[in-house]
């Protein structure tokens, strides 16, 4: 299946737990997604739902204490062979030849994600030196070229500056340049604009989108803002408590959300462009504790469309409700389930 659809990265039933003295954090609970080659997908969900941990898992970056307890992360390499990165030794040679080289990542906090005591050139050239076979002169040229590519003015001068001399938006551009330095195939952008001003957000997103198209990257855009994904990705996964509750092509999902959680998320986007700003509806209640997973449907404690007792007892199956549109909710349990849809 991986090859037929040109899926470059596929995560199946991923469970990640943090074992701590006070209990076990169930950070990811059965996350599943597919990234088709050259396409862009979005992973959307509230803070703490496991987006970052899922992304970290794919390139073996889990923080200390975190363990993948179940599932597969299938990466299709350049030569077509498939490797399960969940099985690779932590920080070993194999994962390091994928991380940074094939799969690059940019992070939420451009302020702190770069070293304050090394110059931009130092940090940028290091990536090139590590993965590409170039001489020092070529490395310098490529570094400047990369900074120009992400729209940093006077790149040949700024390259020798320190990151604290740049604004937040410029720092995030440096991060993007660095991530793209080694001609990666997949770019994971983890809330790349959350920490930035609104006007800067749009610029940085545009840089990412343009480069994704120009370099035919496969992009995973992680955000808690459904508004951001609209112009950025082809396909969206909505994540809640460490699993995907709904997924579909972006225009369909935004226009016709099915899961009560997705509807809630959409309602909570502030509509500034309208004649008057609508009241922002937030989803009632709070996200359940990741130490104790709720029984039944994970969203039942906050859901306003409960079907009945079944919501508290049984976890809903993932069902197909239209072309490539999937939802896990008892309201739609009558529809064709996942197995049938794919096998047929």
């Amino acid at each position: 299946m991986n090859k037929d659809n040109n899926i470059i990265l596929e995560v199946r039933n991923l469970d990640v737990k943090f074992f701590q003295d006070i209990g076990t954090v169930n950070a990811v609970n059965g996350a599943t997604f597919q990234l088709p080659e050259g396409k862009s997908i979005g992973i959307v969900g509230e803070s703490g739902c496991g987006k970052t941990i899922t992304a970290y898992s794919t390139i073996g970056l889990l923080p200390p204490g975190g363990k993948i307890t179940n599932g597969e992360i299938l990466y299709t390499q350049r030569d077509g062979s498939v490797v399960d990165t969940a099985q690779l030794r932590k920080d070993g040679k194999e994962i390091r030849s994928i991380r940074g080289r094939d799969i690059s990542m940019i992070f939420q906090e451009p302020m702190t994600a770069l070293s304050p005591v090394h110059t931009i050139y130092n940090q940028l050239s290091e990536m090139i030196r590590l993965h590409l076979d170039l001489n020092e002169k070529e490395i310098r040229e490529r570094s400047i070229e990369l900074l120009q590519m992400v729209g940093i003015p006077a790149a040949d001068k700024r390259i020798d500056e320190y990151v604290f001399q740049l604004s937040g938006g410029m720092r995030q551009r440096v991060m993007i340049a660095m991530a793209l330095a080694s001609y990666p195939r997949i770019l994971i952008a983890d809330e790349p604009t959350t920490a930035l001003d609104v006007t800067i957000q749009a610029q940085v997103l545009k840089v990412i989108k343009d480069l994704q198209e120009k370099l035919s990257l496969s992009l995973i855009l992680i955000t808690h803002d459904l508004g951001v994904v609209a112009h950025m990705v082809d396909y969206v996964y909505v994540m809640y408590l460490g699993r995907m509750v709904e997924s579909g092509p972006v225009d369909q999902l935004l226009v016709e959300p099915l899961h009560p959680y997705t509807k809630g998320l959409l309602r909570s986007i502030p509509r500034v462009r309208g004649e008057r700003q609508d009241r922002i509806d937030s989803i009632p209640g709070t996200v359940p504790d990741a130490y104790f997973l709720p029984q039944g449907c994970p969203f039942h404690s906050r859901c306003n469309e409960l079907v009945g007792e079944i919501c508290k007892k049984e976890a809903p199956e993932r069902v197909c409700v239209g072309s490539e549109h999937y939802v896990s909710c008892h309201i739609y349990s009558g529809s064709v389930n996942e197995g049938g849809a794919i096998d047929g």
């Binding site: 970056l61 994928i98 080289r101 994600a113 070293s115 304050p116 590590l130």
Partner: protein, 328 residues
Amino acid sequence: MLSYIIKRLIYMVFTIAFISVVSFIVIQLPPGDYLTTMISQMEAQGDVVSAELEAALRVRYGLDQPMHKQYFTWVTRILTRLDFGYSFAYNQPVRNLLGDRLLMTMAVSASAMLFAWIVAFPIGIISAVKQYSLFDYFSTFLGFLGMATPSFLLALVLLWVCYQVFGTNASGLFSQEFINAPWSMARVGDMLSRIWLPMIVGGFQSAAGLIRTLRANMLDELRKPYVTTAKAKGLANAFLIIKYPVRIAINPFLSSVAWMFPQLISGMSITGIVLNLPTLGPLLLNSLQNQDMYLAGSVVLILSVLTVTGTLVSDLLLAWVDPRIRYQ
């Protein structure tokens, strides 16, 4: 940057002048002076000191002058001729007493600090990287032990062990035959073969403190996002840990080198006495007990010059290793 340094240098001069005045006064605060001590000693031996002789001696030593005059004479001679005055107790110019001792003090303190760093850096870093490992627990234990053990006790224990095991007396910086010998390669060699004891004794406590702080700093830095970024590049762990978090965690230590130094010198006074070291510490203690004012004043002055220059060098080093400070 240059104007900053100049400003700092000017402050420095004032600070040192102030310290020298205060120390000169403090040294003379107790009732009596060196002559009183000397006369009471002579009388204890049965000699009778006439009032004329006392007055004559007082004039000879300049003790009849008012205090501010004594101070200015002393300071002027230091500045113009590097003449630090005369030590009554040792019956020698202070400069003769200080020369070798200053050198020796530097050698002992520098080696103690080097020892502390060489021991503390790898241990502190590894115990942070391998937090809660057996190694970490062991180094934590060692750290507390080091901080809780007084240096003079450690000195006594090591002396005793040396005597029991090797049958030699390891105190002092030189063997018997070299104590008063002129400087030669052989004398330097002799000193190097003996310096390990004060080096360990002096460095142990600093090492213990360094391990604790370095471990804490490293734990902070290891959690910072820039470490994740470096990992995401695909760099090898050992390399990236040294290049990023270690580099940032040791900043404060690189800069502390300069002010740690004078601290070590004064901190090692008691150890110096226990180990019978020809360093400044024991000399200072002696001179204070004897009210040997020019000697005491000179040692305090030298220590304060070292401290104040040390602080300046620290700040410059910090600016050098940390661009965030340099570009402010």
